[in-house]
Amino acid sequence: MSERPSLWWIDWRLSRGALVRETIGRFLFFCLLGAAFLSLLLSGGTSRFLADRFAVTAVLRADVPAAEAEGLARKAAELPPVRSAAYRDPETAWKEFLLAYPGLEPLRAAGGNPLPGYIEVRFRHDRLTGADVNLVVSAMRSVSRVDQVLAGEEWLPRLLHAGRYASWFCRGIFGAFVAGFFLFCRLQERGRAVALAGDFAFLAERGVPAGRLAASRAAGAAVSGFLSAAAGAAAGGGALFLLLREFPSLERVIGPPSDLLLPRTVAAAAVFSCFAALLSAVSSLLGGRAALSGRK
């Protein structure tokens, strides 16, 4: 008779219908939030987009043999911030030039191909910073076979600044969504606590400490929050994977679908789920306390 009642999943045992509805709603929201989180994580805000658009061009001297130029490109590719370094021979450079400026074929008739070969260096999206660009530019300039290095140094700092602000803006929107979700959960928890107030009073009257009740409810909310968030992140990630495969152009902004399966992405999703569990527990505690004190 004096055995302690198990309060585990007490909300589920007392109010199944409401809890199922809330859990479905939260799962759907976690799907959206998970997809947004993974997109933000993989894209780095605007980093991947900028890294896709930005390249350092090392123009080679006219007499550099192709084999030597390719060796130089391989060396450049080994630099830590570099994602890829590709050699374009003079003939390819000419074709690209004509594609960009059609109608200038007569230039070549005057005296052969006027364009030299070049190495196009592209950066990893997480290493596109002023310091890393300077590092690569200095390394390329120190090579005697390189005639000049074009890195847009006049406008690059402004571009990186704008990119940083845009990234923070994206994170801010995500944060606002999380905060809104937290407030919504708190209201839901409060509503449920009000609806179950009679049951909680019944249990308190029969020797169940209010602290134990609140702790059990928060623990239940944390576990269900973690599971919902994990399932939501998995579903959101799956949808993102399919979206990236269906529309490859999105890879330029978000990244390749294979990045979703990287261990660090999975670890980030786990952290996301833990954070959701924490938010769920806090919203349960605050909602329950607000219901008891009659505050909003």
Partner: protein, 234 residues
């Protein structure tokens, strides 16, 4: 044994009662009779350990409820059952919900066992097939009987009933008479708070003892080993 010493309550700027002594022995059914607004509900709350008296103390099995170990007081409350006079908060629930909640407070029970026992208890209080009914749809008599049945699911060692006999109505008196005495015979303690005691009960109980504004009766309990009228325990 529930003993209360020099109990005093100050309410609405005045002394409601002071210096009252009670002694409720185990395995017995007690009726505390008092006029309206005499503090019967308050007395039950104090005896359950829910409300601290403004003076005096309540001692259960030698332990003070209010000055002793908090864990013991909680254990005492866990062993008590309580059927309130009226519960507005429960109006939204169904009878099934009452049993589910009671099973939860008991420490868990298998679904099939709960359903089977709740059906038996409901038919015992004259509410066969009422499991799916909403409390809001029921009469006062039905509500109090449903609450009593749900409370009995927990098998409380001590049962406090506030105005249950009068709320249940005259047709249910015989059933309650048998039920409370059967509970006492099984070793439980039942304490009822009522405005009046049914005449037949008073005749059987003999002269009650006057304690402040209350009169306390002890109902006669059948001898253990006689035919069991109600199988409350499995």
């Amino acid at each position: 044994m529930i003993e209360a010493f020099r109990l005093g309550v100050f309410s609405r700027g005045a002394t409601l009662w002071d210096g009252l002594d009670f002694a409720f022995g185990d395995a017995a059914a007690w009726v505390v009779v008092g006029p309206p607004s005499s503090g019967k509900t308050l007395l039950l709350a104090i005896l359950r350990g829910e409300r601290r008296p403004d003076a005096g103390d309540v001692v259960v099995s030698g332990e003070s409820l209010f000055r002793g170990n908090a864990a013991l007081a909680r254990a005492w409350r866990a062993s008590c059952g309580h059927v309130p006079e009226q519960s507005i908060a429960d109006a939204r629930l169904t009878v099934e919900d009452l049993f589910r909640r009671s099973a939860l407070a008991r420490g868990g029970m298998r679904e099939s066992e709960r359903v089977e026992r709740s059906d038996r208890l409901l038919s015992m209080v004259g509410l066969q097939g009422a499991r799916s009914l909403r409390i809001a749809e029921m009469s006062i008599s039905e509500r109090v009987r449903a609450s009593l049945a749900a409370e009995l699911l927990r098998g409380p060692k001590v049962l406090f009933c506030d105005g249950v006999v009068s709320a249940a109505g005259i047709p249910c008196r015989e059933m309650l008479w048998g039920l409370f005495r059967a509970l006492a015979r099984e070793g439980n303690t039942v304490i009822l708070a009522e405005r009046t005691i049914p005449e037949r009960w008073a005749l059987a109980a003999g002269d009650g003892a006057d304690v402040g504004p209350f009169r306390v009766y002890r109902l006669p309990v059948p001898v253990p080993g006689a035919n069991r009228i109600y199988e409350l325990k499995h």
